[in-house]
């Protein structure tokens, strides 16, 4: 599997995501935000966590208008795989690739801790390593992770089995406890929690590793 990890000037989980991809057997290329094309033959684009442009204006809003994001949107439109974690999820909603928005946490404070997530669907390249209904422990670290979408959109996400993860104990006020969602074609995942921070035994938890393993398996050349 060939993965590209996008690097914005304020990305700070870019290396962490690359390490998680590599540990699962992927070849990783780091791609600078001023580039306007993705490397040839990329199977998946990862948009990492961090503060892409300082989170000034709105988290992810400036990044969504950077040259590389036009290429990421085109890649997703062509049916390519992409995943956005934390700030990456915010970028994906700002580009319109995923619906909804991430608002300030209900408690108004930044929260960093490991939380319980319920796997809502195992039918995607990202979640097929889990069973639907499993509870996994994955860290969160965000100030603006309060997922919001209108009632119609939420109903659609649920009806189309596109909610990937929900919080078992909602930390940030997200509507319907939503922690991560899939695109219509199930090939783009956006999630606030950080599976790359629970991907090897030294992290104190490895529940995130299954996501990267499943992805590498699903996208391996036939």
């Amino acid at each position: 599997m060939k993965a590209a990890v996008i690097v914005f000037p304020g990305s700070n989980c870019d290396r962490d995501l690359a390490v998680a991809f590599e540990s699962a057997g992927a070849d990783v290329t780091m791609v600078w935000h001023k580039d306007s094309t993705l490397p040839q033959g990329v199977d998946i684009v990862g948009i990492p966590g961090g503060f892409s442009f300082g989170d000034y204006l709105r988290c992810g809003a400036i990044a969504a208008r950077s040259p590389i994001c036009q290429a990421v949107v085109a890649h997703a439109d062509r049916g390519g795989y992409a995943m956005g974690i934390c700030n990456g999820f915010q970028v994906l909603t700002e580009t319109g690739v995923l619906p909804g928005a991430l608002l300030r946490n209900a408690g108004l404070k930044y929260i960093c801790k490991t939380v319980g997530l319920k796997v809502e669907t195992s039918s995607s390249a990202f979640t097929e390593g889990y069973n639907a209904g499993d509870t996994v422990n994955i860290p969160i670290a965000h100030h603006d992770g309060n997922y919001f979408a209108d009632a119609e959109t939420v109903a659609r996400l649920k009806g189309e089995d596109r909610v990937a993860f929900t919080y078992t104990d909602n930390p940030n006020g997200s509507i319907s406890d939503i922690a991560g969602i899939l695109s219509e074609n199930r090939r783009v995942l956006g999630m606030m929690p950080h599976p790359e921070r629970a991907a090897d035994s030294g992290h104190g938890g490895t529940d995130g590793a299954a996501l990267f393993r499943a992805l590498t398996g699903a996208l391996a050349p036939a």
């Binding site: 989980c13 390490v19 503060f51 950080h194 030294g202």
Partner: protein, 719 residues
């Protein structure tokens, strides 16, 4: 704009004493210009010159085979093997944080991160030690909320994990909170960058953010006592931009790879002045600056303002001229300013030009080398009165009071606002003892802790100074690490008062003795004096930041307490209750002497823990709240109850030093007993971990109830 005339009032407003001004006249043989007066005031204030503390700081042990670079550079550098080094320092941002808590704390974090990456190290861990006034004081909540949000706001965006720290409350900090920020970075031992300039006619380059009027006079402000005009000083606090700092770090580290950097210095206190003088002085060169080339974000800035601005996220570098294009390309890539603003010169001059006009022309070497140095009079702190009787209390009731106190309650409310896991190498996040960060791509890990018990230091500066180092040693030891080196952040009151100077001298003596005995040399540090408001000083607070090394993941002592594990106490107990947490929190008494520190016992017991770490399932050091608090903390972390045999106040709440509490199974306990016998280490079975209650003698409460108190106490008191 006409520069103001040099009057006695103007001189005093610059924090210069009449005899200091006379010395200036002697050095330059004429009246200084306004800009020159500003430069002297910046170089000679307490914050930059260490004029009251230098004499004593020199007595600290700073050497050892592990030390690559001790005090004097931006941060200390310590060998961690395999050609790698850890670079670290702790620094205070007390006064700014009291005036404007969010920005004061944020820029404190920014400053210390810059100190670390200026030396070529990528920051991998941060800590902060915070001291606030009593929870009921009207200003405390605002300060706690602002400081914690500021620390988080900066560090989280920058992308460094916060792995530990301290938060304390005491009335002595009502008018003067303390914000001490620590940062550590990782570098290749042969690629450390220093500040000494070399080569004549080399371009001096300005890097990073633009210069504004923020922070003009900040270092001088930080060297003065507070009074009721404090609100007027708000404009001297800088504003932080962590996004720019993150880019500056990436650009600087990338630039260093190109071989373009001869020397580099961050612009911290007194900005352009201190950084340029430092580079010239260390290299034995003069420096000329052409201020019209300095990138500015405000119009009509004067030379005085540019030289004294403390705008954040800036660096000064001496560049290899043939690498200019390559260097500029790196900064263009990161959208940061890059401007050649001057050059190194042969004469001993600090020549400041603005639009062709000479604004300052001073002998550069005299600016730091002839800075005043004082041997301030000091008096030894009198011995504490013996402790009067401490009544026996129900031990569970006493524990509950400690758990509910914001001093000893869980600090989740604080550290969950910090990113503790970014970089994905956090092996132990805050909550119990030292934090651990893996050295990326190796089997090694580094442990970090920050410690001091100010009420001990007040009662007995020498023993209190020793205790701060000893507690850091124990916290590192308890996770399986070998302590490597130390940074100190000395926060004290007005050094012109002999009793305050006596506290400083005593603490230095204690710290020095402990660092020597425990082989933890001081490699960097910071002194913050004049922490007084309306004449009342803070508790003497010499914060110790320490780093230890763990060579393999198997060497980490985890926290795997199981039902049925034995509770073993390492170290001698005499039931010392003087200046204890119990006395302060339960009886509102701060009396008696600090516990004595036996450095030989500390060493012996620490070595014993490390030698036997594979037989230890969990370990914590005994400090505030003694055995009772340590047993509760292990039980709470593991979710298993604990039963201790004794119900006696001195046994449970005494704060004797050199002690650890261990959890292990029966076979391991037998092994440890045998080994302790051979090593001459005192070991005692004090109870066991079992069930779902905490029981001291016959007094008991459910672990659930105590855990709930422990986790709500902090927010209830100050959030």
């Amino acid at each position: 704009m006409q520069d103001p005339a040099i009057t006695p009032e103007l001189i005093a407003a610059h924090g210069l004493k009449p005899d200091e001004y006379d010395r200036i006249l002697e050095i330059i043989g004429r009246e200084p210009s306004f800009t020159e007066l500003g430069i002297f005031s910046a170089m000679w204030n307490e914050h930059c010159s260490y004029k009251s503390s230098k004499k004593w700081l020199r007595t600290l042990p700073t050497e050892g085979p592990q030390v690559i670079c001790g005090p004097g550079e931006n941060a200390g550098v310590v060998d961690i093997g395999d050609g790698q080094a850890v670079v670290f320092k702790m620094e205070s941002h007390n006064h700014p944080s009291y005036i404007e808590p969010y920005q004061g704390a944020a820029t404190g974090v920014g400053g210390i991160l810059r100190d670390v990456f200026t030396m070529g190290a990528r920051p991998i861990a941060a800590m902060n030690s915070l001291s606030f006034g009593e929870p009921s004081h009207p200003k405390t909540k605002q300060l706690v909320n602002g400081v914690v949000a500021g620390v988080g706001g900066y560090g989280n965006c920058f992308g460094v994990p916060t792995v530990g720290g301290e938060v304390r409350f005491h009335a002595a900090y009502n008018g003067n909170c303390l914000v001490n920020a620590f940062a550590a970075g990782l570098a290749d031992a042969d690629k450390i960058f220093y500040s000494a300039a070399s080569g004549l006619g080399m371009p001096v380059v300005y890097l990073g953010a633009k210069t504004g009027r923020d922070g003009v006079g900040g270092a001088t402000m930080a060297s003065a006592e507070f009074d009721d005009t404090i609100e007027e000083k708000r404009p001297t606090v800088q504003v932080g931009d962590p996004f720019t700092e993150k880019r500056l770090m990436e650009a600087t580290l990338e630039l260093m790879q190109t071989g373009a950097v001869i020397s580099i210095q961050d612009m911290g206190a007194a900005g352009l002045t201190c950084s340029a003088v430092e580079m010239g002085d260390k290299g034995g060169l003069g420096v000329r600056l052409d201020l019209e080339k300095v990138p500015v974000r405000e119009e009509n800035m004067t030379a005085y303002e540019m030289m004294l601005s403390e705008s954040q996220e800036r660096m000064l570098m001496v560049l290899r001229p043939e690498k200019e294009a390559e260097a500029k390309a790196v900064f263009d890539k990161w959208d940061l300013d890059f401007a050649i603003v001057g050059e190194t010169i042969a004469e001993d001059r600090f020549l400041i030009m603005l639009d062709g006009e000479v604004k300052a022309d001073l002998p550069l070497s005299k600016l730091s080398s002839t800075a005043p140095e004082y041997d301030r009079p000091w008096v030894e702190t009198p011995a504490a009165e013996p402790l009067a009787d401490v009544p026996q209390v129900d031990p569970i009731d006493a524990l509950k009071i400690l758990l509910e106190s914001p001093n000893y309650a869980a600090k989740n409310w604080v550290y969950e606002q910090y990113d503790t896991m970014v970089m994905a190498d956090s092996a132990r996040t805050p909550g119990l003892g030292a934090g651990i960060i893996r050295v990326h791509g190796t089997d090694k890990a580094l442990a970090f802790t920050s410690d001091v018990t100010p009420r001990y230091v007040k009662a007995n500066p020498v023993e209190g100074g020793k205790q701060a180092v000893a507690e850091a040693y124990r916290n590192l030891t308890a996770v399986g690490a070998k302590p490597l080196a130390t940074t100190d952040n000395m926060n004290f009151g007005n050094p012109e008062k002999p009793e305050i100077m006596g506290q400083f001298v005593g603490a230095i003596k204690g710290i020095g003795a402990a660092c020597l005995a425990l082989d933890m040399p001081i490699v960097s540090g910071n002194v913050s004096l004049y922490n007084e408001t309306d004449g009342t000083g803070i508790l003497p607070t010499p914060t110790i930041g320490a780093v230890g090394i763990i060579n393999s993941p198997n060497d980490i002592i985890g926290c795997e307490v199981r039902d049925g594990h034995v509770a073993l106490l390492i170290g001698e107990s005499a039931g010392h209750l003087g200046q204890s947490a119990l006395l302060a929190e339960v009886f509102s008494r701060e009396e008696g002497d600090a516990p004595a520190v036996d450095l030989d016992a500390e060493k012996k017991n620490g070595d014993f823990i490390r030698a036997n770490r594979e037989h230890i399932k969990a370990c914590t050091d005994l400090s505030d709240g003694g055995l009772a608090m340590a047993a509760f903390e292990l039980a709470e972390r593991a979710g298993v109850g604990v039963h201790l045999d004794s119900d006696q106040t001195p046994d449970l709440f005494g704060e004797d030093q050199a002690r650890y509490l261990i959890a292990c199974n029966f076979d391991q306990a037998e092994w440890l007993m045998t080994e302790a016998g051979k090593a001459g280490v005192t070991i005692t079975t004090v109870g066991k971990f079992t069930g779902d209650t905490v029981r001291f003698g016959s007094s008991e409460a459910s672990l659930e109830e105590l855990t709930s108190l422990y986790h709500t106490g902090f927010a209830a008191a100050v959030a």
